[in-house]
C-alpha cells in the first residue's frame, strides 16, 4: 500500500497531470479542488504529504497552510506549495507559513516526483 498524497488544486488539467505522474510512481492520490473546506479534507484524508496550490478559489493556499500548521497533529505534515505567480515575496510568504518546499509553475514532472519522494522518505 503506497503512501497518500493530498493534492489541493483547482485547475482540472493540472490535477490530472500530477495525479498521473504520482500514481504511476505508486502513490495514492486524493484531490480537493477548492480552498474552502480544505482543512476538513486534510483531517479526513490524513495524507502523508500535501501538495497545495497558492491561488485557490475561496481561500488562499497560504491561509490553508497556516490552518494546517495551527493543529498540533499536522505540525510536521510535509507540504509542497505550487504557485503560478512567480514573485519573490511569494516564496517568503510560503516559508513563513511553514511550507517544506515551494515550486513555481510550470514545473517538470521529475521535479515534482523528486520533491514528494524527498518529503516522505519510505
Amino acid at each position: 500500500m503506497g503512501k497518500t498524497v493530498l493534492l489541493i488544486e483547482d485547475e482540472q488539467n493540472i490535477i490530472e497531470a500530477v495525479s498521473f505522474i504520482l500514481s504511476r510512481d505508486g502513490w495514492e492520490v486524493k484531490t480537493h479542488a477548492n480552498g474552502q473546506n480544505a482543512m476538513e479534507a486534510v483531517r479526513a484524508r490524513e495524507p502523508d504529504v500535501v501538495i497545495l496550490d497558492v491561488m485557490l478559489p475561496g481561500k488562499s493556499g497560504f491561509d490553508i497552510l497556516s490552518e494546517i500548521r495551527a493543529e498540533a497533529q499536522f505540525a510536521s505534515l510535509p507540504v509542497l506549495m505550487l504557485s503560478a505567480r512567480g514573485q519573490a515575496k511569494d516564496l517568503e510568504m510560503a516559508e513563513r507559513a511553514g511550507a517544506n518546499r515551494y515550486m513555481t509553475k510550470p514545473f517538470s514532472n521529475a521535479e515534482v516526483l523528486d520533491a514528494v519522494r524527498a518529503l516522505v522518505p519510505s
Binding site: 485547475e11 488539467n13 493540472i14 480552498g35 503560478a84 505567480r85 514573485q87 517538470s108 514532472n109
Partner: protein, 897 residues
C-alpha cells in the same frame, strides 16, 4: 319624442362634449400647446365647483324658505377670497413648495408627516363628503323626474335609483379616465380642469338666463319683480343675527377645508399669480350666481301652486311656462353643478384614501420588502381607481338608504360643519409654530365627536340612529349632554349650535394640548417650514443619511417614479455632488429632494415612511435643530451661508476621497497585474509542460490517454493564444491605434449573431428581447459592437446565478443616444466592486472561474472608440449593463414602419 327622451339625449350629448373637451385639453397640454389652459380665468372657473347642485337648485329653495339667508353661503367664500393675502396665498405656496397632494397630506405633512393624522382627516373627509355626493345624485334624479312629470308620452314612475346608478357610473368612468391618468397627484389634470371650467360657464349662463326670463319674461320688468318680492312671504329682513354671522363663518371655513376645494385651489394650482385674479373674479362669479335667486324665489312662490317644491323653481318655472329650451339649459346647469362637484370630490378623496390608507396598509402588509420588490406604481394607481369606485358607490348607497328624502337636503350645511373641523389644524399649522401633532389630533377628535353627536347622528331623524331618549334627555339622562342643547345652550339653531360647540371645543383642545405637549423634531422642522414659508423656500430637511443605501433608495424610487425618471433624478444629484455614475451620496439634501419627488406620487407621510424604512429611522441633525431654534432671519441667513461653505468643503472632500480610493485601487490592481498575467500565462503552460513530458516519456500510456493528453495540450495552447490576443487588443485600443470599420447594420441580426457566439442559443439561459429593437438601424463598427455584445452575453451566461437564468435586453433612445441594456436576474455585482468592474484584470469574485478579467476593459475601450460608452446600472433586478452609442437619425421612425 317626449321631453324625457329629449332630456336624456341632451344630457348624453352634453357628456360627450365634456369628454371631448377634456380629451382635447389633455392632448393640447401633452403637446405643450394651449397656454390658455393655464390662464387665471380657467383657474377661477374651476373654483366654481364650490357651487354644487345644492346651491344651483337649493339656493332658490333656501331663499323661498328663509329670504336672504342663502347669501351667507356665498359671502363667506367671498371674504376668504378677498382676504387671499392672509391665508390662501400661504396655503398655495406651502402646497406647491411641499408638493402637497390633498388637505390630509397638508395637515399630516405639517405635523411631522404623521400618518395617523392623515388617516383621521381622510376618514373624516369621506364621512363628510359621502352624503354630499348623494345629494348631487339626488338633484340629478329629481330634475329628471321634473321633466318626466310634464311629459305626456311618459307614463308610470321613473326609476329614481336607476337614474342615480347610471349617473354614478358615468361619473366614475369620467373620473377614472381623466383623473387617474398620472400617478403624480401633483401633476395638473388639464383635461379635467378644462371640463370643469366649461361646466362653470354653463351653470352660470343657465342661472342668469333663467333669472332674466323670470324678471323680464314672467314678472314683466324690474319694478314688477321688486313689488312681487315685497308682496311675498319673504318680504321682510328677518334673519337671526346668529345664523347670518354663523353661516357666513361656516361657509368661509368650509370653503378652505372642503377636500374638493383644496384640490382645485391648491393641488391644481398652476401659478401662484392666478390667485391674484381669482381673488376678485371668484367673488364676481358667486355674486352673479346669487343675483337672481330672490327674484326667482319670489316669482316662483307667487306663480306655483301651493306645496310645489321651491328647490326646483329654477327648472319648473321655464318648464311650466312652455320654455322648453330654457328648461333644458337650466337642467344642464344643474347637471353641471352636480357632476363637477362629484368628479373633483372623488379625485380629492381617492388621492387621500389611496395615499394615506391603502398604501400604508399595503406597505405594512408586505413588510419592508415591498419597498424594494413590489410594484408600488401600479398598486398606487389601482388603489386610486378603486377608491374612486368605492367613494361613488358609497355616495350611491347613501342615496339609496336615505331614500333621497328631505333629510338629504339639510346635509349640505351638516357636511360643511364636518369639514370645518379641519380649520384649527389647518390655520394653526400655517400660522402658529407651537401647534403640534398631539394637539391637532386631539382637537380634530373632539371636534369630530361633537359634530357626530350633536349634528350628524340626529340629522337622520329621531330614533333613526340616535335613540329618542338621548335626543330629549341627553346621554345617560344628563340634561347638559342633550345633543342639540349642549351645556345648556337652549333654543339655538341646531347647525349653528353644533358649529359653535364643535369648533370651539376643537380649538380649545387643539391649543391646550399643543401648549402642554412637546413636539418631535420633525414636527418642529416642518412647523418652521410652513409658518415661515415666505422667508425661505429651502427644502424641508430632516434626513441624515449616513446609513442610507443609495442603491436601495434607487430601487425604491424606480418602482414609484418609473425607471427613467428615477435614473435621471439620481444621475443629476450625483453629478451635482461631483460623483460619477448613478449613485449620489445620501446627503440630507438629496434625501429631502427624493422624498419630495416621491411625495408627489404617494403623499408626504408614505414617502417619509418609505425612506425611513431604508435609511433607518427619521433622524434630524444638530444643524437642523439649530435651524429650528434660530428665530431671526439674520441668523437663518448666516447659517445658510455656513451651510453652503460646509457643503462645498464636503463636496471637495468627497471628490478627493473618491479620487484617492480609485488611485489606491488602481495601484493595487497594477501590482496585481503582474501576478495576474503571470498566473494566467503559467497555468496553461503548466498543463502543456506536464502533459508533453508525459507523452515524451511515453512509457505505459494507453492510446486513448495519449490522444486525450494531446488535446489538452492543444486546448491550453489555444487558451494562451486567446489571452495574448486580448492583451494585444486592449493595448491597441488603449493607444487609439484602432481603425474603425464603419458600416450600416441592423440591431436585430447583430444581437442574434452575438447570442450564438456567446452560447446563449443553447437554451440554458432564457433571452427576452424587445421586438422593436430588431429594426433599429446602426451606423458603426458592427464587428466591434458585436464583440461587446458577445462579451456581455457570455458574462451573463457565466455569472448569472439564478435558478432559472434569464437575460433581458432592452432598447431605448434618449438624448440622441441608442441605449441597449443587458439585465440578468442573478445577484448582480456587489456595490463595492461596481466602480472597478471595467478595470483590467478586475474579476467580480475570486471564486468564480472565467476569463482573465479583460473582457469588460476591452468593451469599455471599444465603446469609447465608437463614440458611446458602457456602464453598470445599479438597482436593477440583477447584473445590468448599459451600452450606449450615437443613434442613427430617424432610426426609430424606421423601426416603427
Amino acid at each position: 319624442m317626449g321631453a324625457l327622451n329629449a332630456i336624456v339625449l341632451v344630457s348624453l350629448l352634453y357628456v360627450a362634449l365634456l369628454f371631448g373637451v377634456a380629451f382635447a385639453a389633455d392632448r393640447a397640454a401633452a403637446r405643450g400647446r394651449g397656454t390658455w389652459l393655464r390662464s387665471p380665468i380657467v383657474y377661477t372657473l374651476s373654483l366654481s365647483i364650490y357651487c354644487t347642485a345644492w346651491t344651483f337648485y337649493g339656493a332658490v329653495g333656501f331663499a323661498a324658505r328663509s329670504g336672504l339667508e342663502y347669501l351667507t353661503i356665498y359671502l363667506g367664500p367671498t371674504l376668504v377670497m378677498i382676504g387671499w393675502w392672509w391665508t390662501l396665498r400661504k396655503m398655495v405656496r406651502v402646497g406647491r413648495s411641499q408638493r402637497i397632494t390633498s388637505i390630509a397630506d397638508l395637515i399630516s405633512s405639517r405635523f411631522g408627516k404623521s400618518n395617523a393624522l392623515a388617516v383621521f382627516v381622510t376618514i373624516l373627509a369621506v364621512i363628510g363628503s359621502t352624503p354630499y355626493i348623494a345629494l348631487q345624485l339626488q338633484s340629478v334624479t329629481i330634475s329628471f323626474a321634473a321633466f318626466a312629470a310634464v311629459d305626456p308620452t311618459h307614463t308610470g314612475e321613473i326609476s329614481e335609483t336607476g337614474v342615480a346608478l347610471w349617473v354614478a357610473f358615468g361619473l366614475m368612468v369620467f373620473t377614472i379616465l381623466f383623473g387617474t391618468r398620472n400617478l403624480d397627484a401633483n401633476e395638473r389634470h388639464h383635461g379635467l380642469v378644462m371640463a370643469i371650467a366649461l361646466e362653470a360657464v354653463v351653470k352660470l349662463c343657465a342661472l342668469l338666463a333663467v333669472g332674466i326670463f323670470v324678471v323680464w319674461g314672467l314678472a314683466g320688468g324690474v319694478e314688477e319683480t321688486l313689488s312681487r318680492i315685497d308682496e311675498s312671504a319673504i318680504a321682510r329682513w328677518e334673519v337671526p343675527g346668529s345664523r347670518w354671522v354663523g353661516l357666513t363663518l361656516l361657509s368661509a371655513a368650509a370653503f378652505m377645508c372642503l377636500p374638493r376645494m383644496f384640490q382645485v385651489m391648491v393641488v391644481e394650482n398652476e401659478d401662484e399669480a392666478h390667485l391674484r385674479t381669482a381673488s376678485w373674479a371668484f367673488p364676481t362669479y358667486v355674486m352673479l350666481m346669487s343675483l337672481f335667486v330672490v327674484p326667482i324665489a319670489a316669482v316662483g312662490l307667487d306663480l306655483s301652486p301651493a306645496g310645489a317644491n321651491p328647490d326646483l323653481f329654477v327648472l319648473t318655472l321655464p318648464l311650466v311656462n312652455g320654455q322648453e329650451g330654457l328648461a333644458v339649459l337650466s337642467f344642464l346647469g344643474g347637471f353641471s353643478s352636480a357632476t363637477s362637484m362629484v368628479i373633483v370630490a372623488a379625485i380629492a378623496l381617492s388621492t387621500m384614501v389611496s395615499n394615506h390608507v391603502v398604501m400604508p396598509v399595503w406597505l405594512w402588509m408586505t413588510g419592508g420588502s415591498a419597498v424594494i420588490s413590489g410594484d408600488v406604481r401600479t398598486v398606487a394607481i389601482r388603489a386610486r381607481r378603486l377608491s374612486i369606485m368605492v367613494i361613488l358607490f358609497l355616495g350611491y348607497l347613501y342615496f339609496r338608504v336615505s331614500g333621497g328624502g328631505a333629510a338629504l337636503a339639510a346635509i349640505g350645511l351638516i357636511s360643511f360643519v364636518g369639514v370645518a373641523q379641519f380649520l384649527p389644524a389647518l390655520l394653526g399649522g400655517l400660522f402658529w409654530r407651537g401647534a403640534n401633532r398631539r394637539g391637532a389630533l386631539a382637537g380634530l377628535a373632539v371636534g369630530f365627536a361633537v359634530w357626530m353627536y350633536s349634528l350628524f347622528l340626529p340629522s337622520f331623524g329621531a330614533s333613526a340612529v340616535m335613540p329618542q331618549g338621548v335626543l330629549e334627555n341627553g346621554l345617560m339622562g344628563l340634561s347638559w349632554l342633550r345633543p342639540q342643547a349642549l351645556f345648556g345652550a337652549q333654543g339655538m339653531d341646531p347647525v349653528i349650535h353644533a358649529f359653535m360647540w364643535s369648533l370651539s371645543l376643537n380649538i380649545v383642545v387643539f391649543a391646550v394640548v399643543s401648549l402642554v405637549s412637546f413636539p418631535q423634531p420633525v414636527e418642529r422642522l416642518q412647523g418652521a417650514q410652513f409658518v415661515n414659508v415666505f422667508d425661505h423656500s429651502t427644502p424641508s430637511g430632516g434626513w441624515t443619511g449616513g446609513l442610507a443605501q443609495s442603491e436601495d433608495l434607487m430601487i425604491m424610487a424606480q418602482r414609484i417614479m418609473g425607471a427613467q425618471e428615477a435614473q435621471a433624478l439620481f444621475a443629476e444629484a450625483a453629478r451635482e455632488q461631483g460623483v460619477s455614475g448613478y449613485l449620489p451620496e445620501p446627503t440630507p439634501d438629496f434625501l429631502g429632494r427624493l422624498e419630495r419627488s416621491l411625495a408627489g406620487s404617494v403623499g408626504a407621510a408614505t414617502a417619509h415612511a418609505m425612506i425611513s424604512q431604508i435609511v433607518g429611522g427619521a433622524s434630524v441633525s444638530v444643524q437642523d435643530l439649530m435651524a429650528v431654534a434660530d428665530e431671526t432671519a439674520q441668523i437663518m441667513e448666516y447659517s445658510s451661508q455656513l451651510e453652503m461653505k460646509t457643503e462645498e468643503q464636503a463636496r471637495t472632500a468627497r471628490q478627493l476621497r473618491q479620487a484617492n480610493e480609485k488611485l489606491t485601487q488602481i495601484s493595487v490592481q497594477k501590482d496585481a497585474f503582474l501576478s495576474q498575467i503571470s498566473h494566467e500565462l503559467r497555468t496553461p503552460m503548466t498543463s502543456i509542460r506536464a502533459f508533453s513530458e508525459i507523452l515524451r516519456d511515453g512509457a505505459g500510456i494507453r492510446p486513448d490517454e495519449q490522444s486525450r493528453y494531446a488535446s489538452i495540450i492543444h486546448d491550453e495552447a489555444v487558451r494562451l493564444t486567446r489571452l495574448l490576443d486580448d492583451l494585444l487588443d486592449l493595448s491597441v485600443l488603449e493607444n487609439a491605434q484602432i481603425v474603425l470599420n464603419l458600416q450600416e447594420g441592423t440591431l436585430g441580426p447583430l444581437l442574434d449573431r452575438a447570442e450564438v457566439a456567446a452560447g446563449l442559443s443553447e437554451g440554458e439561459m432564457a433571452v427576452r428581447r424587445d421586438a422593436r429593437a430588431d429594426q433599429i438601424r446602426l451606423h458603426t463598427d458592427t464587428d466591434r459592437l458585436a464583440q461587446v455584445f458577445i462579451n456581455l452575453m457570455s458574462n451573463a451566461r457565466k455569472y448569472c446565478d439564478a435558478a432559472e437564468p434569464r437575460l433581458d435586453i432592452r432598447v431605448a433612445e434618449r438624448d440622441g443616444m441608442l441605449q441597449v441594456d443587458f439585465i440578468d436576474n442573478g445577484n448582480g455585482i456587489p456595490a463595492g466592486q461596481q466602480g472597478t468592474v471595467f478595470e483590467k484584470f478586475s474579476r467580480v469574485s475570486e471564486n468564480k472561474a472565467g476569463g482573465a478579467g479583460l473582457g469588460l476593459a476591452i468593451c469599455r475601450e471599444i465603446m469609447a472608440r465608437l463614440g458611446g460608452g458602457i456602464e453598470y446600472l445599479p438597482g436593477q433586478a440583477g447584473g445590468a449593463f448599459r451600452v450606449y452609442l450615437p443613434a442613427v437619425q430617424g432610426a426609430a421612425v424606421e423601426a416603427a414602419q
